[in-house]
């Protein structure tokens, strides 16, 4: 009996070892584009950001429109309950912010006395693309060099929570690198049990999470804030968990940003 097997493709020993021409062309093209981008100080990135800006803005518009439509279908009882909860939360926060405002004013006055007052100027900006778009832990925001943003400027969320620094500035957009970028090392200060501040190095773990390794002798408490050591550096996060292993002379402090980076809509950038 004769059986017809499907013909194998023309995959010969010769073609197996041959690198396709198209692949070589693409690799060369990639190399040329990278060199052009470096030599022209990011002109290709700038062009891609110009293409992306209207897309990101229209995507945000569609997202908000859907949110509004869906909110109409929510249960009335749930909305009343949520309204009550939010009213209560607003009252509580108003009371708390009164105390915070006094402390902030006092802090500013003291810095001015010491001649270390910061410029204090910040620009509010909307987030166009957030970390879930890539694994890089970067934000794209809708202000750029024409708004006075400069590379290295600090970026803050609500309540002066420090979230990152400006990595690249284009005409109308800016790329922000988060402090929590995997492997990024940040100097921090954390409060110990006896009230003293302890300097340490935090390593970014992505998505607003950090890790610190400090000697076990330092007594740290969960729930305490972690600060940036710079003037006007702000709060970086809150201690979530302390891992102590009997075999290790160090303890691992895990902390995360108090802000949810995925639901954040606006950030402020310090103008230098």
């Amino acid at each position: 009996m004769k059986t017809n097997f499907p013909q194998q493709n023309n995959f010969t020993r010769q073609s197996r070892s041959r690198v396709p021409k198209s692949f070589i062309v693409v690799v060369l093209l990639v190399g040329v584009l990278v060199v052009i981008n470096i030599l022209t100080l990011g002109s290709i990135s700038q062009a891609l950001h110009s293409v992306g800006e209207p897309l990101w803005k229209s995507q945000a518009g569609v997202h908000h429109a859907f949110e509004n439509i869906l909110s109409g279908f929510r249960d009335k009882q749930t909305l009343v309950q949520k309204n009550n909860d939010l009213t209560e939360a607003v009252t509580r926060l108003e009371l708390a912010s009164m105390g915070a405002e006094i402390l902030q004013q006092e802090n500013r006055d003291l810095k001015q006395l010491l001649n270390r007052g910061a410029s204090g100027e910040h620009i509010v900006t909307a987030i166009l693309a957030r970390p879930n778009r890539t694994l890089y832990d970067t934000f794209i925001v809708d202000v750029g060099s024409r708004d006075g943003v400069t590379v290295g400027a600090g970026v803050y969320g609500v309540g002066e929570v420090a979230i990152g620094t400006v990595e690249e500035v284009y005409a109308r957009t800016t790329r922000i690198s988060l402090y929590s970028t995997p492997g990024r090392i940040v100097e921090v200060l954390l409060g110990s049990k006896d009230g003293a501040l302890v300097a340490a190095e935090a390593v970014g773990k992505g998505g607003g999470n950090f890790e610190i390794r400090i000697p076990r002798g330092v007594e740290i408490l969960e729930g305490h804030p972690v600060f940036s050591p710079h003037i006007d550096g702000g709060i970086l996060g809150v201690i979530e968990e302390i891992v102590v292993l009997p075999s290790d002379s160090f303890q691992v402090v895990l902390f995360s940003s108090p802000l949810s980076l995925q639901s954040l809509r606006f950030v402020t950038i310090a103008l230098q």
Partner: protein
């Protein structure tokens, strides 16, 4: 051909609009329906838009370009060993 154009457009749009895992999925689909060397350029687009120096990714701001180049190479070898791919589709 229509499939290739459709998935190429979708792939490049996803680089701007969708999370990274959807872009990677569309890149794999594109590699399955066409030779798919466009995915390397797509990786470069992702890196040009979002790329930053990430110490955990070997300090390279071109991680997606390298990843898609590797993916393309793997798909080229795999397609060569499958009977239902003609040489033209590799």
């Amino acid at each position: 051909m229509i499939q290739r154009v459709f998935f190429t457009i979708l792939f490049f749009l996803s680089a701007f609009l969708f999370p990274w895992y959807i872009t990677i999925f569309l890149g794999i689909v594109l590699l399955a329906v066409a030779p798919g060397y466009e995915v390397i350029l797509g990786g470069l687009v992702l890196d040009f838009i979002y790329g930053a120096v990430v110490p955990s990714f070997f300090t390279s701001p071109f991680s997606f370009t390298l990843f898609f180049a590797l993916l393309y190479s793997i798909s080229y070898v795999v397609k060569g060993r499958l009977v239902f791919y003609k040489d033209a589709q590799r």
